[in-house]
């Protein structure tokens, strides 16, 4: 099954009422007592300018793009939240140039909101602010190959058996990563809550760190989340707060090879234990292990892999079953 063979009869083009972008969240900070800098903004022009790093800045905002289809079939906005070390690019074109989940959901009639977390991508960050004084981390090629389960060894470049990853486009994949701080999760949660307040009740599809943060967001704004699709979250919600969010249907999705990397084996166990507790509270939760339903070969980056539309179909089928949208 290739990415284009999905169960939907998607229109070949993309018909939009509107598209655009905005920032939301964060607050002002004042920077004081830093030395004045003189910088050469265009080294080849030979002109230097004086820059005073002191003053007012806005920090903690997120960047959000929106795509409103001509024919909206969904009852609620769909929010796509990316994982750690990445940006909203995660859901755009795949590394090998096929359409990603953004185009899929827009073409299925979802009002889709694609964002960058705080300090990632177009959200921006303030070098002079205290919270960024620890250096950020950019994952290297070994990490994004092994940790995200493309294969056992980056040195040997051998993919796991049945891998669906477009490995010839590893270069593009590696270019999609951006530095991440570890001190900004709370700000991202705050900004996501503000986004929900602006848009009203919404469906969230979130990956990895984004999915972990989505549980915090649900616990803060349970009335504004209509469903969560958690794609390989690293952690789950707080068991003590399940009763507050048990009205929100939750679908977890895990790919193949989770036994190969202890962190993901543990992540799946955490999700499974939480889901059992969630269901004991009469929550509507399900952990979907792709390898157990015969879909082999997906890594942590399933939204980019050859069968990315097959997985998107599973997500949309579940959302249709929950009466959150209509079938195309």
């Amino acid at each position: 099954m290739t990415s284009h063979e999905c169960s939907r009869k998607l229109h070949p083009g993309i018909q939009l009422q509107d598209m655009g972008s905005f920032h939301i969240g964060g607050s002002h900070i004042q920077i004081k007592d830093k030395p004045i800098k003189e910088i050469d903004v265009n080294p080849n022009s030979g002109r230097r300018i004086i820059v005073d790093p002191n003053g007012t800045y806005h920090v903690g905002q997120i960047y959000v793009q929106y795509y409103i289809p001509q024919n909206v079939l969904s009852r609620y906005p769909l929010l796509l939240w990316h994982g750690g070390g990445m940006t909203g690019k995660t859901y755009e074109t795949t590394p090998d140039g096929r359409p990603g989940w953004l185009n899929y959901f827009v073409r299925c009639g979802w009002k889709t909101y694609l964002s960058d977390a705080v300090e990632r991508g177009r959200s921006g960050w303030c070098p002079a602010a205290q919270m960024y004084e620890e250096p950020p981390t950019l994952f290297n090629h070994t990490y994004i190959f092994q940790r995200f389960r493309l294969g056992r060894s980056f040195q040997e470049k051998t993919l796991f058996e049945n891998s669906r990853f477009p490995i010839h486009a590893f270069e593009e994949y590696s270019m999609e990563f951006v530095p991440r701080w570890t001190s900004t999760s709370d700000q991202t949660v705050d900004a996501y809550c503000k986004l929900l307040e602006r848009l009203g009740p919404s469906v969230i599809v979130a990956h990895s760190q984004g999915a972990t943060l989505a549980f915090e967001v649900m616990e803060k704004k349970p009335e504004l989340v209509k469903a969560l699709v958690a794609v390989e979250p690293y952690a789950a919600g707080t068991p003590e707060r399940i009763s507050q969010i048990r009205h929100i249907p939750i679908l977890w999705i895990f790919g193949d090879y989770t036994d190969e990397v202890p962190a993901w084996k543990e992540a799946k166990e955490t999700a499974t234990a939480y889901c059992e507790e969630f269901c004991r509270h009469n929550g509507d939760g399900q952990v979907l292990e792709l390898d157990r339903i015969g879909i082999r070969g997906n890594s942590h980056m399933m939204m980019m892999e050859y069968n990315n539309f097959e997985i998107a179909d599973l997500i949309e089928d579940w959302l249709i079953d929950h009466r959150l949208t209509r079938s195309l």
Copy 2:
């Protein structure tokens, strides 16, 4: 004239053949001899991971979004390049929520490519790389108010007379800025050249630093640039190389109040002197001073101001006159 009153009969929606994104440019670097780090990727999960900053990274790439209209009227792709301290967001929705030049040109039938410069926005950067060891600069509120000619004093918040800037949305405007290094211009020029090599001959609309870099790009790839619209560049091309690029039509646009800020007065003088020399070489160049044709009140950020579509019309009229596209 508001932004929606432009001379084009724009279709209310946006009909696309396709949209997507990719990265291009840059190269591998190897980082060695840095200490291993242990980081807490999800502070609230209590789980720490080992991160080795040594290894392979890709640096110097740019992020590019593309929007291909259903009915393409232009003969060439249109590349939108932003200015220093900003990202491609510059051309998306204006700070006060009106459509920007991206939507304008897509709706006029241009295959439009919107990018982030090297290390800006979704292009990403590598904290471990030498080239980023000098701290970057984020412009503060005073700078983005005064330097970019919204008004004389940020403290007093008084706009220049006739200002077209949506000042009630200053907050959103301030959130659009990202840190910038001064060491990455050459890499951005290289990535822009690679973009032209991929797309073939193209029209460039570039702002501020992006327009300054566009002159360098034209001098390197004169056969791949069909026209340049330089919106308030800080510097011009190299006079000695004019003969290589004199076949490329160039339109400069400057807004109002340039006499209020010496750097922009000087930038306009530089452009004017270069344009005269360009025309002496039989180049087709024009410096359009908006205030001299009765369009008062535009700052450095004219693509975001109330009359942004009026200015876009002037640009498109000039492109139509040069047979680079057909009228809608």
